[in-house]
């Protein structure tokens, strides 16, 4: 589904942030991506999400060589990948419902289906009563759940989450990971970038460890440092 083969990445002429990344994420897999702050977790997620292109090596997403794709070929692939951003990136001038509906509306889904699917997904994340409020009126945890609803409403094949529990308390963090596990059971491949070791220890999923720009796969239960 997503395959890195000796991928390297640098910003401009700066030092290489990621080096010799080689890994394949299969359909329906679940991984934690861990590593200290500044290790390159967000950069690796951005490569998976096609927001960046590798500066060397081969990156294939859904069997497409990303380095060889034209810019206009990227949006259809991005729509198959849900992304939960660390800073939520909700649009304050839109309601909770309209924020979550964005991925459906930008592909021209009929409004009747938008209403049905968005209402269902917001109820799933526990925000069924907050459809028409502004994101500004929500707590950090609630905003995070709106961002999750937006990421999964179009039933993506892959869900990437960048520090999804970074701004919520431990209990909300555990609930968010359980939501991702539910989605995983429905067949979505999930990659969660986090440096919350306590949270990672609570869930039995394989870990990808980024350290000094290189990636290693750790067996369940192992832990960095």
């Amino acid at each position: 589904m997503i395959s890195f083969d000796n991928v390297g990445f640098r910003y401009g002429v700066g030092p290489e942030i990621l080096r010799d990344i080689s890994i394949t994420l299969e359909a329906g897999s679940f991984h934690f991506l861990t590593g200290p702050s500044g290790a390159g977790k967000s950069t690796l997620l951005n490569l998976m999400h096609l927001s960046l292109r590798p500066t060397r090596g081969l990156l294939t997403v859904f069997d497409k060589d990303i380095g060889a794709l034209r810019r206009r070929d990227l949006p259809p692939l991005r729509r198959r990948i849900g992304m939960v951003f660390q800073d939520f990136r909700l649009l304050d001038h839109l309601s909770v419902f309209d924020n979550a509906a964005l991925p459906l509306r930008l592909v021209g889904t009929r409004e009747k289906h938008v209403r049905r699917d968005v209402t269902e997904i917001l109820e799933w994340v526990g925000l069924g009563r907050e459809l028409n409020v502004s994101p500004r009126a929500l707590s950090g945890g609630e905003q995070q759940r709106v961002a999750i609803a937006r990421a999964v409403v179009a039933r993506p094949s892959v869900l990437l989450a960048d520090e999804p529990t970074g701004s919520v308390d431990e209990e909300i963090g555990r609930r968010i990971i359980r939501l991702f596990e539910e989605l995983h059971r429905l067949g979505t491949a999930v990659v969660i970038a986090t440096h919350n070791w306590d949270l990672v220890d609570r869930f039995p999923h394989p870990r990808l460890e980024l350290n000094d720009g290189q990636l290693v796969r750790l067996p369940d239960g192992d832990r960095y440092g």
């Binding site: 206009r72 949006p75 991005r78 729509r79 198959r80 951003f85 964005l102 930008l106």
Partner: protein, 276 residues
């Protein structure tokens, strides 16, 4: 482009085009008024005297015999006095002068005679006669009117170029202000076309509202000019619009709306290509 700027562009465009249409009409009026009538100046064969009745009869007879000349009318002495009085003063003085006889010649506009032929024919009969077909006047007046019209069209072109640059600058500013939202839309899979469409729709709505406002302002200004009359706006009395003029004026607000929409689209797409 903001609503008010669009309205201003529409007002400017309509005013300039209407002015050009009025000048074109003035040119046409002047040419018809002058070229459909010529003037014959007949001096007496005997210097120091007015032309004799025989010379006058010969002039009239000769002219009337030429095909394409509809009527020949000698300008009455009283009328001549009236014309000359501002320059020569007392009517009694004017009456004592050996003035030439003037003839107003009406020309058939459908088959006008050749001025050189008429001049030759009348000079053969009366060597002291001189025909004025007003071509020198009409050429200068036409040149003046056409220069005014060309300046109007050049101003209109400047309005269009200014509108284009303003729309492009506005689109760039809007994209810069909305950069975070644009990046988010890109990241969740929106195509450039989808994002550009959002800007294009906003530009279209704003341009339609601005164009309507511009039409209202121009109509109000036009009504005020008509009410104030020719003393305030002498050119306005010549503003008789043809169907082509109406079509051109109607195309101004429509064109500015289309321009705003298309320039916003192309600017947005060009800038989006530089983003992620």
């Amino acid at each position: 482009m903001s609503l008010l700027v669009t309205a201003l562009m529409v007002v400017l465009g309509l005013t300039v085009l209407a002015g050009a249409a009025a000048l074109r009409h003035v040119d046409r009026e002047w040419r018809h008024a002058i070229t459909d009538s010529w003037t014959l100046e007949l001096n007496a064969a005997d210097p120091g005297h007015a032309p004799s009745p025989d010379e006058i009869d010969l002039a009239v007879t000769t002219l009337r015999a030429i095909p394409g000349i509809v009527t020949v009318r000698q300008i009455e002495a009283a009328e001549l006095d009236h014309l000359l009085q501002p320059w020569l003063g007392d009517p009694a003085t004017v009456a004592q002068l050996p003035l030439p006889a003037l003839f107003d010649i009406a020309i058939d506009p459908d088959r006008p005679p050749d001025p050189a032929f008429v001049d030759g024919r009348i000079r053969t009969a009366l060597p002291n006669a001189r025909l004025d077909d007003h071509q020198a006047w009409t050429r200068d007046l036409s040149r003046l009117a056409r220069t005014g019209e060309a300046m109007g069209l050049a101003l209109f072109a400047i309005v269009i170029v200014t509108a284009t640059l303003t729309v492009a600058a506005t689109a760039r500013a809007r994209l810069a202000v909305n950069r975070p939202e644009i990046e988010l839309l890109h990241r969740i899979g929106a195509s450039d076309a989808f994002i550009a469409q959002q800007f294009e729709s906003g530009a279209f709505r704003s341009a339609v509202a601005g164009a309507l406002l511009g039409l209202v302002i121009t109509a109000a200004a036009g009504a005020a000019i008509v009410a104030l009359g020719p003393a305030v706006a002498p050119l306005a009395v010549h503003l008789r619009l043809t169907l082509v003029d109406f079509a051109a004026l109607a195309a101004v607000p429509v064109g500015i709306v289309v321009l705003a929409t298309l320039v916003t689209r192309s600017t947005a797409r060009a800038l989006l290509r530089r983003l992620i």
